[in-house]
């Protein structure tokens, strides 16, 4: 952060407030050229190392990521890495029933993820509400709260289905968002 794009305001002796200005025009232009001309390169690189945020709500969390990360299925072959923070994630994997109390948390996590972001809904609960659809506290599907790219059906889906979905996701990421 250079001196030109930050400004230090001191309203109080003990407090420092940093205000970030807009980036300079030259930088934005270069960024736009890179994005338009070499977007395919970025997408290709991204597709080979998706960082997945696992929102382990319920049953499917034991299969994915735990069993899928275990020696038998070993999803790290696809360059997958689970970061602990949504701010580092490319893909969010949502599983389990979405309750009315939890919906706002999912939206907050989604908002924290950097663009481009992809959402995978795992299991019947995250797709349509599953066996709990008729409950008073359940939202029928995570796509009512945030947009979803890939659905993996099953209750719970097998790790093989998930590995297949990872390959589908790769194609999607390669194609790019825009």
């Amino acid at each position: 952060m250079t001196q030109s794009d930050t400004k230090v305001v001191k309203p109080d002796e003990n407090e420092e407030v940093y205000v970030v200005k807009d980036a300079p025009i030259l930088l934005t232009t270069v960024r736009t050229i890179l994005r338009k001309g070499f977007g395919w390169l970025f997408n290709w690189a991204r597709s080979h190392s998706p960082w997945l945020l696992y929102l382990g709500i319920k049953c499917c969390a034991i299969e994915i990521p735990m069993a899928a990360g275990a020696p038998r299925f070993d999803m790290e072959r696809w360059g997958v890495f689970p970061p602990s923070s949504p701010r580092q994630a490319d893909v969010m994997v949502v599983n389990g029933p979405i309750t009315k109390k939890y919906a706002q948390v999912i939206k907050a996590l989604y908002d924290q993820m950097p663009e481009p972001k992809y959402i995978v809904a795992v299991g019947e609960c995250a797709i349509i509400g599953g066996p709990f659809k008729k409950s008073y506290n359940i939202i029928s599907g995570v796509d009512k709260v945030i947009p979803v790219d890939i659905y993996i059906p099953g209750c719970p889906p097998r790790p093989e289905a998930y590995l297949n979905a990872l390959n589908q996701l790769k194609k999607l990421v390669k194609r790019g968002r825009l």
């Binding site: 319920k58 034991i62 719970p156």
Partner: protein, 538 residues
């Protein structure tokens, strides 16, 4: 001092109760090993206190209520560490203004149980320190488990648009000192093993106070069950706990069999006992690798443990076709017979596990780091563990030798020879020792049964019934004493299904452990509880 035979007789407690409280007792009866006492609502706390202090009923198994349409019926179940008798206090409350005295002043374990009843039925407990909703948001309207409940539109979409933090409560109730801070951990947090929120108040690096907030995946299983037929509920109970689903749906089918008056064939009982013990092994393996991952031995034990688990999952897959949610047990037996060659494969797998156990123990106990992170961390003394309502391995780690399989044997546990694994210190290390001991005992139990499986039918045909009556069954889940209580009122679906979940009680002991501990110990303490949010939130 009463002898063991007298203590095992429910009549003894009923006579004592009648002698002590003559006029406030409305009715007494014996149902199986339950001593049921109907008490006037004004004297419930008095009788419960007497049962605790004089009769040695140590813990409330569960508290529930039944909506009888013209009144509410409150039902308490209490267990005894030296006898199979369950002391049951029942009381009728006014439906429009249900008020009863709280038990929390002398029974701290009742805290969450009473909050749940307030949440689900709107029963007000006088003298409760913190009576607010447990599962549902604070501004929810209505009480879902009442029969005339009509769901109202809850403004979750508005909440999603403008992130609403349920901080109001904390802001009002906590006047933090200058050097203190309130930290929200969760609901999405790598060390929490599920969707719940841990609130901690810290002073520097030391935790002054910590308490859990739950309800983020509350599905209302009990309410959903009221609209389904008895046999349709099995998959729902299967999805209560995703680490030990076998034990939950088996408990449910056992309760329905008791209600229907059906005895499963002896072959089915053998198979059930074996798969339950296999499930206990798998569940403890998952617990072990979660603990190992959290305190820093990530890749070695995590990968070994999952390798071991996959072998057991293969066996489960052979008998029922599923890896995680089995739905294997049915009313009157099991869904399918065990296939050819399954027993040999199970023996092989057990031998493998037995051979590897010393390796796993060495990986954990041989590491000095493991001792440093777990010894004298999260200690619950014997008295606190009982008072706070700790269950299963948590309780046995605090030197209480209590196991439902021994004290009130079900299935074939009365015929097999096994020991109760206990440890003395009550810290995280003791919990590790108890669970490792239980895995070894489970291997012993399976090995005793595996060669004796009798031939014959594995499932009895049971036609749908409209039972009238009640059934209460308790079992030893991998997490502790679990129970189900079904009320049938002459229809194809249950009138009320109660699910008593041990992990819920274990989670409610967390405030006792998070007092004046370093912040870094949270990971070890939370992992030692063996949480399963599916069964806690129901």
């Amino acid at each position: 001092m009463a002898t063991k035979e007298v203590l095992a007789n429910p009549e003894y407690y009923l006579t004592e109760t009648k002698n002590k409280f003559g006029d406030v007792i409305e009715e007494t009866k014996v149902v199986g090993n339950q001593a049921v006492v109907y008490v006037k609502s004004s004297s419930v706390a008095k009788v419960a206190r007497w049962a605790k202090e004089e009769m040695n009923f140590k813990q409330p198994i569960w508290l529930t209520a039944i909506d009888n349409k013209d009144n509410l019926e409150l039902v308490y179940f209490f267990n005894h560490f030296g006898s199979p008798v369950i002391y049951t206090i029942r009381s009728f409350l006014d439906r429009d203004n249900p008020v009863v005295e709280s038990l929390t002043s002398f029974w701290p374990a009742a805290n969450w149980l009473e909050r749940e009843m307030y949440d689900m039925f709107g029963i007000k407990f006088e003298g409760h320190p913190n009576l607010r909703r447990l599962y549902l948001p604070d501004d929810w309207e209505g009480y879902p488990l009442r029969k005339d409940y009509v769901p109202k539109e809850y403004p979750w979409k508005e909440r999603v648009e403008s992130y609403y933090d349920s901080n109001e409560y904390y802001k009002e109730h906590f006047k933090l000192a200058d050097n203190e801070m309130l930290i929200h951990m969760g609901p999405q947090h790598p060390i929490l093993h599920g969707t719940w929120k841990l609130m901690v108040r810290v002073r520097g690096d030391t935790i002054v106070e910590g308490w859990p907030e739950i309800g983020y995946i509350h599905r209302g299983t009990e309410k959903l069950a009221e609209g389904l037929r008895y046999e349709q509920i099995i998959p729902l109970t299967d999805r209560l706990c995703y680490v030990s689903s076998m034990s939950w749906h088996t408990l449910y089918t056992m309760t329905v069999e008791k209600l229907f008056g059906v005895e499963p064939p002896i072959r089915a009982q053998y198979i059930r006992t074996i798969v339950l013990e296999m499930q206990r092994i798998v569940s403890h393996i998952i617990w072990l690798i979660a603990l190992a991952a959290d305190i820093g031995t990530y890749h070695s034990l995590f990968l070994y443990g999952l390798r071991e688990r996959e072998k057991f999952l293969d066996l489960f897959e052979q008998i029922c076709g599923a890896r995680l949610t089995y739905t294997y047990s049915r009313i009157g037996g099991v869904a399918k017979d065990i296939p050819d060659g399954w027993i040999e494969k199970l023996k092989e797998t057990l031998a493998d596990l037995e051979r590897h156990m010393p390796e796993y123990r060495d990986l954990m106990e041989g590491s000095e780091l493991f001792h440093m992170r777990t010894r004298n961390v999260g200690t619950l003394s014997r008295e606190t563990a009982i008072e706070a309502g700790a269950r299963g391995p948590m309780l046995r780690a605090s030197n209480v030798s209590y196991d439902v399989r021994k004290i009130d044997p079900y299935l074939l546990y009365g015929d097999v020879d096994f020991d109760i694994a206990t440890a003395k210190d009550g810290d995280v290390y003791s919990r590790y020792l108890v669970r490792m001991g239980e895995v070894e005992e489970s291997i012993r139990i399976i090995q005793q049964l595996i060669d004796k499986i009798p031939s014959g039918e594995y499932r009895k045909k049971v036609s749908p019934k409209k039972p009238v009556g009640e059934a209460f069954v308790r079992t030893e889940d991998p997490r502790g004493e679990s129970a189900m209580f079904i009320v049938g009122r002459g229809t194809f679906n249950p009138y009320r299904l109660m699910i008593a979940t041990p992990a819920y009680m274990n989670l409610s002991t967390i405030p006792y452990m998070l007092k004046n501990v370093p912040f870094a110990d949270v990971a070890a303490i939370v992992a030692s509880v063996d949480l399963c949010m599916g069964e806690i939130d129901k």
